[in-house]
């Protein structure tokens, strides 16, 4: 989520001070997605320049300016809500790269590496689950954010499980010898059309 739309979202509920916007965003996401004040003020300036929000410049004191959303900002926000998020995978997923590389580097046990990443993921998930457990169930916002992170980590652990099974069936190609292509087709039923 862009900071831009996060701020439009908060302002669509009513006018806010800049500092208030930063505190509310952080509080509502259970501090899982922190946002710094600098980011907030730069983004507010741009939103105002684009006519999506306006401020009452009354006192002139930057910190105490009140911001409100304009009709154009309201339309922009409504459209953003319905726009599907990007479904393209992030370029060069780091974990995928590490496993691909490890598989070919002599002296690296790719299974041990996968397990190390799996353990790290599970330990991280334990901390998120503890956070969820310690939060009242009616804190809906925090529940939503924490679940999103947990499901994302879970997906990664499942990829690791699948990767491990795949690598067990097709051990690493010899660094400068036989390539994957030389594996007899009979051993690779899943790639046949």
């Amino acid at each position: 989520m862009s900071v831009r739309h996060a701020l439009l979202a908060l302002l669509s509920e009513g006018p806010r001070y800049g500092l208030q916007l930063q505190q509310e965003f952080t509080a509502r996401t259970g501090e899982v997605w922190p946002l710094n004040v600098g980011q907030v003020y730069t983004t507010l300036q741009r939103l105002e320049r684009d006519g999506l929000i306006e401020s009452d410049d009354a006192g002139g004191e930057g910190q105490q300016k009140t911001f409100r959303i304009t009709p154009a900002g309201g339309r922009e926000f409504a459209q953003w809500l319905r726009t599907p998020p990007g479904t393209m995978p992030p370029p060069r997923d780091e974990l995928v790269m590490k496993v691909l590389v490890a598989r070919r580097v002599p002296g690296v046990d790719v299974h041990e590496l996968i397990q190390a990443h799996r353990r790290h993921l599970v330990e991280t998930m334990q901390r998120y689950t503890r956070l969820k457990e310690d939060t009242p169930e009616d804190d809906v916002a925090l529940g939503l954010v924490v679940d999103a992170e947990l499901f994302r980590f879970e997906a990664t652990t499942r990829w690791l499980d699948a990767a491990e099974a795949r690598l067990a069936r097709f051990p690493a190609p010899h660094p400068n010898g036989a390539s994957e292509a030389s594996v007899p087709p009979v051993l690779t039923p899943e790639v046949r059309p």
Partner: protein
Amino acid sequence: MTTASGPALELRRVSKVYGSGPAEVRALREVDLAVRHGELVAIMGPSGSGKSTLLMIAGSLEEATEGEVLVEGVPLSGMSSDDRARMRRRSVGYVFQDFNLLPGLTAAENVTLPLELDGVGVRTAAAAGVATLEKLGLADRAARYPDELSGGERQRLAIARAIVGDRRLLLADEPTGALDSVNGETVMRLIRAACREGTAGVVVTHNARLASWADRVVFLRDGRVIDRTAAPAGPESLLTPGPMT
């Protein structure tokens, strides 16, 4: 015995071999595991890695080929089979991978049976049964037979049966396998709550999200413990990225 403060469950260098000769399967190899009262441990590992075997041995439903199992500090090998049966009935709640519900009993009867076998009066048992079914959202299914329940309801019933009464040890094999993520979480919260009250819990799962409810996670592969999570950190550490972010 003076070991009351020790672990609720302890496996010492436990190995299990099924069959012999060419059919021999080494299902567990020198597994060490200790679970304290109040603690929940999750076991993860690929299919065939020995997870169910470990749980069966921990609950004395299978015997170890080598090594020792202690429940509340008492070695199972030193108990008479009567004592073992009583211990299983009284202190251990199981959730089996295939549920093992009794088809001729209603949902309510399935839950109260372990209490009644244990000498608890019918009324007290019935009240405890209703309360437990309620916790699992099954109160309105009490009079149904297992084959009149959905897969997820059967699974929750198996959990109700395992947590009813005051169990010292809770052993659950994929307790959320047939459940959607919401009911899966309800079940993990209940297991967690039982552990908070002093039960020692062991949960087998291949799902990392469910395993993350545990205090510790033990990873099995080919019958061996290959890894364990570090001591749990508080949620405050979430904002300080670890070494592998």
